[in-house]
């Protein structure tokens, strides 16, 4: 994939967050962001501020659980963790994602 960095498509952010927390770690927002950035080799532009509404929405939906804790640097931080409901959501979202990617690929025409 060459030619500059990719803009984030709607709904994709949530997908990325879910993927990030899939392994069961507890992370605060900045950690989630950094993880996404590094695992995509900086190819995606994320408006950092948009991450938080996404996190809160998913928390409200019950996909994520959150609690306040103390970070290794000694700061108070809000930590997020995937719930079992969130895990179910990943399964659904992955199916949708696969179809989405396939559809885009077909339109782009090899």
């Amino acid at each position: 994939m060459g030619g500059g960095r990719l803009d984030l498509l709607q709904g994709t952010l949530e997908h990325l967050v879910l993927q990030t927390l899939k392994r069961g770690d507890m992370m605060h927002g900045f950690q989630v962001l950094e993880w996404i950035r590094s695992s995509t080799d900086d190819d995606l532009v994320i408006e950092e501020g948009a991450l938080y509404p996404a996190l809160h929405r998913m928390e409200k939906r019950g996909w994520l659980a959150a609690e306040w804790g103390v970070s290794p640097k000694g700061r108070r931080a809000k930590y997020y963790r995937l719930t079992s409901k969130g895990r179910d959501a990943i399964v659904r979202e992955e199916g949708k994602w696969a179809r989405y990617v396939a559809a885009v690929a077909r339109v782009a025409g090899e």
Partner: protein, 955 residues
Amino acid sequence: MPRPPEGPRKLLPRMQPGPKQAADLEIQHHLEERIDQLVSDGMSRDAARREAERSFGEIERVERELRTIASGAAFRAAVATALETFRQDLSYAARVLRRSRGFSALAVLTLALGIGTNTGLFTVVDSVLFRPLEIPKADRVVQIRERYSGSGPARFMSAPNFFDYLERGEAFRYLAPLSHTWFFQETSAGVDTVHVLMTTDQLLPLLAAEPVIGRGLTESDGAADAPLVAVISHAFWVERFGADADVVGRTLRMLDARRQAVPERTIVGVLPPEFTLPPVRDPIRWQARSAWGSEVPLELGASTAPDVLVPPPAAWRSEVNRGARRIHTVLGRLEDGWSVKQTEDVLSAVASGITATHLEVSGPESVEVTPLPRLIRDSYGRAFYLLWAGCGVVLLVACVNLASLLIARGLTREREMAVRASLGASRTRLFRQLTTEAFVLGAVGGLAAIPVAHGVTRGLVALFPGDVYRIATAAVDLRALGFLTMASAFAAVAFGVVPALRGGEVVGRGRLGEWLRHGSRSRLGVLRALVVGEVALTLTLVVSGGLILRSYLSLTNTDVGFEPEGLVHFWVGGRPGSGAFSKYEEGSQRAGVDILRRQLLERIEALPDVVSVAEGMPPLSGAASDWSHTLADRPPLAADARVVFDTRRAGPGYFATLGIPLREGRYLDEADEELSLRTWGSWGELRQRPELSQADVTLPAVVNETLARRYWPGESAIGKGVYSGSVEVGDESEGSNSSSIVWDRRNPPFTVVGVVGDVKTVGLDREPEPTFYSMGWGHSYLARVRGDPQLASEAIRREVESFDPALTVGGALPMEQRIADIAAEERFRMLVIVAAAALALMLAAVGLSAVVAYSVNQRRHEIGVRISLGAKRAEVLSLVGWQAVKLVSLGAAIGLALVAGLSRLLGSFLYGVAATDPLTFLGSLVLLGSVCVLASYLPARHAARVDPMEVLKTE
């Protein structure tokens, strides 16, 4: 792949950020992490901060977004909390109500009865009165009635008059006469009646009904030479013709009242299954039973669902019938753009024309046009609204009663409330708690009311006397349940909120101790006010019940003018199909009358159970027949020359058998009968003789006192001449303006030979009408019997059947039974109101008892002290009793004022007793007073037994 980050350490609870700072803190944390990262990459701290904020985006917008997300959650959380609180209140309320089972059961029972009866009445009233009529544009359908001078709308209309209105009927799209008669049919089960409606082609389009098979009546069906046709009802088609699709063209055979075959008719059409006549119930409801008087021993049961429609005979148009009112009801559908008033004006002009042209009959003065919806309201509204009002008052009394019970009970729960308040329950929380209890009671009461409503509806439908339009369709449905829900909510608010407000007032924490000692004075005040209200409401019901009871008694004990005890009415006819009756009607009918009246009546009179027997029409049979007459001694143009009498047949011995007293002159006897039958029998020939003078052929007649007094006041009626039917006005002396009545020889003239006492002929609550008795042919008999009227009737039947096996007896009905039937609606109304009053009285007693018990409880200390200081039991009793007396007196005073205000309304339901009848008021007061004394005596006696030592110890 980056390595997974380190997890968090636990945060101490007190370090948890509050909901407002949390979003802010989270964003700050992000920025700090980013700054740290940038600084460690070698950026200056200031540049790093700027870069961090830039890459974060619009901080304020994000914050706003987070707040929006949070508030949605907050709303949901609030709802969840409220639901949880409600659930808690609910389970607490259920627990409390379960704990005091007696009270809860009483409350639920009272509510179920109160709400259930009201819903039941609503259900019936809804189906009878509230639901729109099935007829399209029913408000354009009207009833037309003539008014004669000095009286209300006339019962019936003469057919020639009707056709005059029809001719000038530009105000109407359709105008149709309705006249009911009864025929019979032989079926496998015996003889069944056939309800025949004589009407014209306009009735079906008027009601927007179309035949499902064949055609309706046409205008030509009414012509003199037209073949005889009939349109049958759907039910009749299914029942008697097996729903034969080829019924058109088949023959309808019927028998008349004497079981003689009437001319056959050809069926031309079948009505739709839903066809019914509009529920026109004449103000004189006995109209419906008038058929009985004309010897068809039937109640006009399903008067709205005729079996057969036939055109009226062509003779209806004949001028001979101008004076005979044969049409029972006239219905019209107004033409677009015509108002009721305009129509009345046009028809009244026609009426004046009739009066001016046809001097031989009593002419109508004006015409009244009544839209159908109003007619139904007038007919049935009264019957139900009074009952409904009675049940409504019972529900109110029940609510007041429950409120006072709740308060009285709440007072005993004050300790609980106070403790809860001192533990931090807020005022609103306590209020909510008490309201929840009330609503739980209301809801359970409402649920329990559903079967009650169902039962009441079924009971009303089954027991309501007479034929009430659409009452059979009444069933507890969604509308009724909606009403029930509203009534339950109303009841819960009515009895629950005031006590809850009072309960919410529970004293603050600091005053707990004081409050536990003294309770709340103001609550006692509310309680007293409730008792006063309850007594007032109850008294209105008791007085109304008393008045209606007295009205019923005076109605049934009213002087009917004859002696109903031991009087039996019956008629004699041929057995179905035997054809035997014709031998009694051969020739001029004299032979038959001779045989039946002389031989048969002699044999019946010889029966040991029979005192006497006579031919004639039974009294209280409804308006038998209104006929025009002319008074011979008046100038022909005099306003009162043309009169309408209720004209009845009376054979020899009729008055003596019925016990109708003679006022003047003489009764009719066998010689009169002989003369009458001979004259009528050969009248066709007699009237042709030119030399015939009036005196030769005049027939004897008897009139009642009302007639004699009204038309010959201050002089004797004996010897006065009366012409029956029509007469002509002629000029006797040439050149003079005076004209006189010319006897037209159409009927023999009558001479009054006797005046008898008034008899209630139409209804118990009707004033006697001018009644004219003469002889004629008929086979309706009245017998005065000894002992059980049923046994005597059986003996008469056996005698008739042994006299001629082809004959039989019909309609044997004791007159006392007849009177009971007529008063059935009044009796029903009386029973319901009296039951409502008794229920209210019971509730009031319970309420008063509870209040006195509470007030005694409050004054235990005082009473204890008094007793220890030597007060006697009687003094304590009177101390407590005096209070009850004051409350009841105040309530009674208000109640009396209420009844006085309602007296005009109530007066229209009363007969023979004034709405302000002092005896009833006094009796009601005494009854209410004694119940109240009893209700307060028991708790007061309890007070007198207070043990002073025990009371003082608890201080």
